[in-house]
């Protein structure tokens, strides 16, 4: 069993403070969801955990099995067991999806023990079929010209092939139709088990019908303001974020509200 602890995390981007002390602890075997209105710092949290260079941690720690990972470069964090399914994956022309995923797997293995092509292709084929992906997706250039839905599926494909300890899914449901949402959820659910934990970031409760979380966190104004079980997500869907804000007496302006 592994643990991921976020302690009093403060993060700024371009000099602007976004996260103002986030605390969260999770273990493998658990699925956590973070919900919150637009502009509240959910994506900042995921990029800061992963180590995007533009996000500056000004205070706090992120511990993986007790070790602070904030000093590690992004690739070492990944090999330590973190995975981020990104909202806007980069496109890399000329590099095929298959060769990239194989490279990512081999990066986790000793140099003289690369995964055999046969083995790799077998796993890839199986995983792609779980995700209803056509074979040609393996030979296309990484994310280049992928539709929104294809990109999301491709993130989950990588997740399933790489098998991280903790996966952060940053709005994996945005831009997906119901069928694609089910497929993506199927992939994540297949990963569920004692050696896998996931932090799901979403606006909507809908995704959580398919991937039922153990814990739901509500984030507002750069902090986690409320925690609960799956029923919390349902409550949010009914009452909106304004309801919970007012109940907690928070002085936070929601983006869509008029001044």
């Amino acid at each position: 069993m592994s643990t991921l602890e976020i302690k009093d995390l403060h993060v700024s981007i371009e000099g602007k403070n976004i996260l103002k002390g986030v605390n969260l602890t999770m273990k493998t075997g658990e699925i956590h969801a973070i919900m919150g209105p637009n502009g509240t710092g959910k994506s900042t949290l995921s990029e800061a955990i992963m180590g995007h260079p533009a996000y500056k941690v000004t205070k706090g720690e992120v511990l993986l099995n007790g070790e602070n990972i904030l000093d590690l470069p992004v690739d070492e964090r990944a090999r330590a067991g973190l995975f981020l399914a990104m909202q806007y994956p980069a496109e890399i022309p000329g590099v095929t999806n298959a060769e990239f995923i194989r490279g990512a797997i081999n990066a986790r293995r000793p140099e003289d023990d690369a995964i055999s092509i046969k083995n790799f292709l077998k796993q890839l084929d199986e995983t792609m079929s779980v995700l209803d992906m056509t074979e040609e997706m393996a030979d296309r250039y990484l994310n280049e010209g992928f539709s929104g839905g294809e990109k999301k599926r491709n993130e989950i494909l990588q997740l399933m092939m790489i098998k991280p300890k903790f996966a952060i899914l940053d709005e994996i449901d945005s831009g997906l139709d119901i069928d694609a949402l089910k497929v993506v959820s199927r992939g994540v659910n297949k990963m569920r088990g004692p050696e896998f934990g996931s932090l799901i970031i979403t606006h909507y409760q809908r995704l959580l019908n398919y991937i039922v979380p153990d814990v739901v966190h509500v984030m507002m104004g750069g902090r986690i303001v409320e925690q609960g079980g799956p029923e919390l997500a349902k409550r949010l869907e009914d009452e909106g974020y304004a309801g919970i804000r007012d109940e907690l007496g928070l002085d936070i302006k929601l983006v869509d509200e008029d001044a």
Binding site: P53, P73, V74, D75, A78, F83, V95, G103, R108, I162
Partner: protein, 467 residues
Amino acid sequence: MADASMLGLGGEYKYGFKDDIQPILTTGEGLNEEIVRQISAAKNEPDWMLDFRLKSFRRYEQMEMPDFGPDLTTLDLNHINYFRRDSDKIARNWEDVPEDIKKTFDRLGVPEAERKYLAGSSAQYESEVVYHNMREDFEKLGIVFMDTDSAVQQYPELVKKYFGKLIPPSDNKFAALNSAVWSGGTFIYVPKGVRTEVPIQSYFRINAGNSGQFERTLIIVDEGASVNYVEGCTAPNYSEDSLHAAVVEVNVLKNAYCRYTTIQNWSDNVYSLETKRAQALENGTMEWVDGNLGSKVTMKYPSVYMNGEGARGTMLSIAFAGKDIVSDTGARMIHNAKNTSSSIVSKSLCKDGGRVDYRGKVRFGRTSDGSFSHVECDTIILDEKSASDTIPFNEIKNGNVSMEHEAKVSKISEEQLYYLMSRGITEEKATEMIIMGFVEPFTKELPMEYAVELNRLIEYQMEGSVG
């Protein structure tokens, strides 16, 4: 893949070995009219060729060095050995090639490649072709593939008709020089309607220090015929500077097709100043595939003159300039007839203080109604010591044409790097992946063994580039 090593691309310039070969004939350093005569006499040439050489030599003496591009002041033209002969006859069988030279080529892997992949191959060592063979079935089709010296003797009419026509000696100083002292090179004639799928390959190698290599290649693809020609170049490491000033003329006649693939990987003391030009007649297609990885200085702007209606010209190139390398290359597409089309895709990389420049031209002449050109130049500058200029000229003299031109210069994309690294791939490996992806449009057009070798070379170049 054993054949892959033939290109001499991989590793720590692994073809930097030098063979100690005593030449049978050499004209010594420097150049004068007497030497030009000597070269011609040594080849037992007809008078018209001697005249051509002498006229060219006079031209050469009058002409100025190029007024653009890299600095050539360190190139001492008086300190070059303009002609040497290492073997006294062209061998027909590999076994007949002199032992020392054979050893060199064995290290390069020429014969294996020939056996396995190629329609024919010819190997040039210093100034003359020493080994030459071709698969019989191609000979039966009437394809002529030989060194240009032999072609002057055996196909004088064809040579006379095309030699020096696309690139007259007056074109530039180095074309004039080549015209005066040329030796060796490849001659290909593909008769009407003959189409070959397998590449024909030639090989160039400069062995001795400060020796010039002035090969002269002439290709004629007759109506409806096609050919795919591949050449690779290597040179050992020397402290003295060598000069390579080739002239290549390709004639693609009506409905014909030619692809000409070059991988230049001279060592970093070679000046590679080449003139390559093709013409494509009615519905003919000329494709240049051009990779430049080595040389101290490269100046090369392969061109296609689209002289017949519906002709097509393309250029696909990569240039990688490492430490102390100046690569000044590009393509020229000259639209002289209706409904012609051209495309240029140029990918450039530089690092460790290398300089990689794109210098190109697209011209639409008065009579180029309905023509089209597309140009894309992308450059990645890998570190802050390196630099790159993109200098394209687009001249339009016809109102009914269209042209699109795009170029980008940047460092490695941080977003791409972050994405790959977020999957656990190291920075070094991720950088390499992005670079491989960047040049992929080029590598995918190469014959397999070249592609593999090219990737190996780039991997080598990229080593230690991070951190």
